[in-house]
């Protein structure tokens, strides 16, 4: 597939906000609780393909939610600690991730946009791509500004 740079596609906003950063693609869903250390932002689920990688400041793509309902707190805590992803892009909406981002915005005034994408757009984002997310109240624009491989 030809990778076109700078093409903007629309997504559905779960949590509004804007972000820019390098993508980190999670090959499997990750339960943030038990799966991510909010002190460091690293994936600590040893069975996860991205185990050991840091989510901090990355535009994280994650197909869907998984596991514990405590993941909302872990995301809010990561936002407070500055170790959270700068945005989360998903294939299937996950209210648990969305709630963590909503509460973090209320408590700390820092927004982590959460956006649901169609399959083609989602699959077109690779780890290392530079991604710009502009999520309004209802719809979001996601731009893959540069693919670095």
């Amino acid at each position: 597939m030809t990778r076109r740079c700078g093409v903007a596609t629309e997504g559905r906003t779960l949590v509004a906000g804007s972000a820019r950063g390098r993508a980190l693609r999670l090959d499997e869903p990750l339960s943030l609780w038990g799966g991510m250390d909010p002190a460091t932002g690293r994936v600590i689920d040893r069975r996860h393909p991205q185990s050991g990688q840091s989510l901090a400041g990355r535009i994280v793509t994650m197909p869907s939610g998984r596991g514990s309902s405590s993941s909302s707190s872990v995301l809010a805590e990561a936002v407070r600690a500055g170790t959270a992803p700068s945005a989360v892009l998903m294939l299937e909406p996950d209210p648990i991730v969305a709630l963590g981002a909503v509460v973090a915005a209320e408590l700390y005034g820092r927004r982590v946009p959460v956006v649901v994408l169609d399959e083609a757009t989602y699959n077109g984002i690779r780890s290392g791509d530079e991604v710009v997310v502009e999520a309004g109240e209802i719809s979001a624009t996601v731009r893959v500004a540069r693919g670095s491989g």
């Binding site: 909010p38 600590i44 869907s64 596991g67 405590s70 993941s71 709630l99």
Partner: protein
């Protein structure tokens, strides 16, 4: 989205600052789940009382400062500290104080201090078809699947906000259309002997979660003798390896009297044959330790029921525990009181077993920090403990756990998993 006059009053702050914040969280979730309105819930189970860092405290303090009170019967999930046996906590005292402070904050909002991940083992559980707002993945899957009550996958923050407002988005598993089965898991060639064993259920649940992901799985081929505790273990495992919040077991769970009804008259999107070798692989995947070395055993995830205590009591009456092996059982203070009233506590004291209440051994530092290898009969514990508390894990049945603790070495029955 249509809000009622009362919803709008709450959102506008006319019921106080805490209710405003709570309604803001509820409506944010409603828009994330594309709900067209909010509905009443009869009860709530709140998970936010477990300390995950400063954000947990910041949120609860914001609510309490704003005058928060729950308006529906509300139970509380585990906290960070065993309040009846605080000496069991081996971590940093400052974190314990924060954990205790968080537990106090939630209790002060009018929630019942139940401190259990198995609220379905308390009196007054939800009835069939009743809308509730439950958090904690194993409690959610049990309420939906085994009780036939209706809760979506609530988590921290939204749970207490539902308890304060009495309202949730009309979405997800509150709706008929989302409760039909989507994927069929058919037991194929599994021996009668294995079908009768408790240890099948967490292993099967692990497979179900891996296969189903976010879909509603239907399991066909379980025996009529399947117990509530076995379904609890299955659900807890499926909600760990996958995002399963509702499963149907044909002929067993209330929305699945037949295969057709479990699927709501539709065809499964996918059919998975669960063979003995598939189960054996899942059982192996739940073990990370590579030798027979054993430091400790931990059972009771989800919290041990009184029936599980009855079985463990019988096992421990027959055998002791080897020196150097710690043995933990996590349960609720309510079940502990029942254990005491049945006169079983002496068996546990005599065997040197540590009974943990109000919390669980994989969410807070209770294990001996020098211990590296822990055996469990819980797929959920096996799934999370290596990441959470940094141990190697061995998965086995309750009988294998007791036998291993007694011999001081991991002992498991491999023959059970060979198929026939």
């Amino acid at each position: 989205m249509r809000l009622s006059a009362l919803d709008r009053a709450m959102l506008d702050g006319r019921h106080g600052e805490a209710t405003r914040l709570a309604m803001k969280v509820v409506t944010a979730m409603a828009s994330a789940s594309e709900a067209s309105r909010l509905i009443d819930v009869a009860s709530a189970h709140v998970d936010g009382c477990l300390y995950h860092g400063q954000a947990s405290l910041d949120f609860a303090e914001r609510l309490v400062t704003g005058g928060a009170r729950v308006t529906i019967p509300t139970t509380l999930n585990v906290g960070s500290v065993d309040l009846l046996h605080p000496e069991l906590y081996r971590g940093d005292p400052d974190t314990a104080d924060r954990g205790r402070r968080l537990m106090d904050l939630y209790a002060s909002m009018g929630c019942r201090p139940t401190w259990t991940c198995a609220p379905y083992q308390l009196a007054g559980r939800p009835s069939f078809g009743q809308h509730v707002a439950w958090a904690e993945s194993n409690a959610i899957v049990f309420a939906n699947s085994v009780l036939g009550a209706r809760t979506d996958r609530y988590g921290d923050f939204i749970d207490v906000c539902a308890a304060i407002t009495g309202r949730v988005p009309e979405a997800g598993l509150h709706l008929d259309r989302n409760r039909a089965g989507q994927i069929l898991l058919r037991l194929n060639g599994v021996s009668k002997k294995l079908l009768a064993e408790d240890v099948l259920f967490p292993v099967l649940g692990h497979v179900v979660g891996m296969e189903a992901g976010t879909m509603v799985p239907v399991i066909d081929g379980l025996p009529a003798s399947t117990s509530e505790d076995q379904l609890k273990a299955l659900g807890a495992a499926a909600a760990s390896s996958g995002a399963v919040a509702l499963f149907h077991a044909v002929g067993l769970t209330p929305e699945a009297p037949s295969l057709e009804e479990a699927f709501g008259g539709k065809e499964p999107r996918r059919v998975v044959e669960v063979t003995p070798s598939r189960l054996a692989d899942a059982r192996d995947a739940l073990t990370t330790a590579r030798s027979d070395h054993l430091d400790a055993v931990s059972v009771g995830t989800p919290h041990f029921s009184i029936d599980e205590f009855a079985r463990l009591t019988l096992l421990l009456e027959r055998t002791g525990i080897a020196p150097g092996v710690d043995f933990f059982v996590s349960t609720s203070r309510h079940v502990l009181a029942e254990v005491e009233s049945r006169g079983w506590l002496d068996v546990y004291r005599g065997a040197g077993v540590t009974l943990v209440v109000d919390t669980c051994t994989y969410v807070t530092p209770i294990l001996n920090p020098s211990h590296r290898v822990v055996m469990t009969n819980s797929a959920k514990w096996a799934y999370y403990a290596p990441g959470n508390v940094g141990v190697e894990v061995v998965f086995g049945s309750l009988e294998e756990c007791v036998r291993s603790a007694s011999e001081g070495r991991v002992r498991r029955d491999e023959a059970l998993w060979g198929g026939d």
